[in-house]
């Protein structure tokens, strides 16, 4: 019973956090801020996916979270690399 309320609280927190990140992606002062907001969005989405796994009571979503974590990391590095060298694979 306590866990249910804590799950509601944590899901609400991460939903608000995702909305703030979306606001940051739309209204960023520079491109590095936009990349940072996208990276934070990926991390918060992993947290929401894990919380949804607890709510549903299955551990199916962990594979999806691992995949999203890897894709998010690689895309962030690719964006930053593209900004630094204007090329990803030299």
């Amino acid at each position: 019973m306590i866990v249910t309320y804590a799950l509601f609280f944590a899901t609400g927190c991460y939903t608000l956090a995702l909305l703030m990140n979306l606001w940051r992606v739309v209204k960023a002062p520079g491109v590095p801020d936009r990349i940072l907001a996208l990276d934070t969005m990926v991390i918060n989405f992993i947290a929401i996916l894990v919380l949804y796994g607890i709510i549903e009571g299955t551990s199916v979503y962990f594979e999806a979270s691992i995949l999203i974590a890897m894709v998010g990391f690689i895309s962030t590095v690719a964006y930053a690399r593209f900004m630094l060298r204007s090329n990803i694979i030299e």
Binding site: V3, L18, V31, D39, F73, V77, A80
Partner: protein
């Protein structure tokens, strides 16, 4: 689940939620790009770690089986967060920071974000395109 198990899982969940929202709020609130880098890469990573530990404990308490999936995700995020922060800091240094305003490195070489520019300047001063 026993009541003390529920309390432990709920405490981890609440900590995770608070850290997540603080990290994302810091992304909006902090004044300049280099300080803005701190909030998501530290607080949000810790928040996700808390959520994953809560999930791990929940499945241990309900099913009795111990799984390492969550620890794998936590480890992956804790390894990759400093790397992404470093790359974004370099990109930010490359685009937004004035070259004459940075502090000296204490050696002949420039900061790593400016090193490609310095190499290009040397090549241009020699007058020949380096192939």
């Amino acid at each position: 689940m026993e009541i003390w198990q529920e309390i432990i899982v709920a405490a981890f969940l609440v900590i995770a939620g608070i850290f997540g929202i603080v990290g994302s709020y810091g992304l909006i609130k902090l004044p300049d790009p280099m300080t803005r880098l701190h909030a998501p890469t530290k607080a949000t990573t810790l928040g996700v770690g808390g959520a994953l530990i809560a999930s791990m404990l929940y499945f241990v308490f309900t099913t009795g089986f111990f799984s390492f999936h969550e620890l794998m995700i936590t480890l992956f995020l804790f390894i990759t967060a400093p790397i992404t922060a470093h790359f974004i800091a370099k990109a930010n240094l490359h685009t937004n920071v004035d070259r004459s305003q940075v502090s000296p490195t204490g050696s002949e070489r420039p900061w790593a974000g400016f090193e490609s520019d310095a190499a290009r300047e040397i090549a241009e001063s020699r007058g020949a395109p380096d192939k």
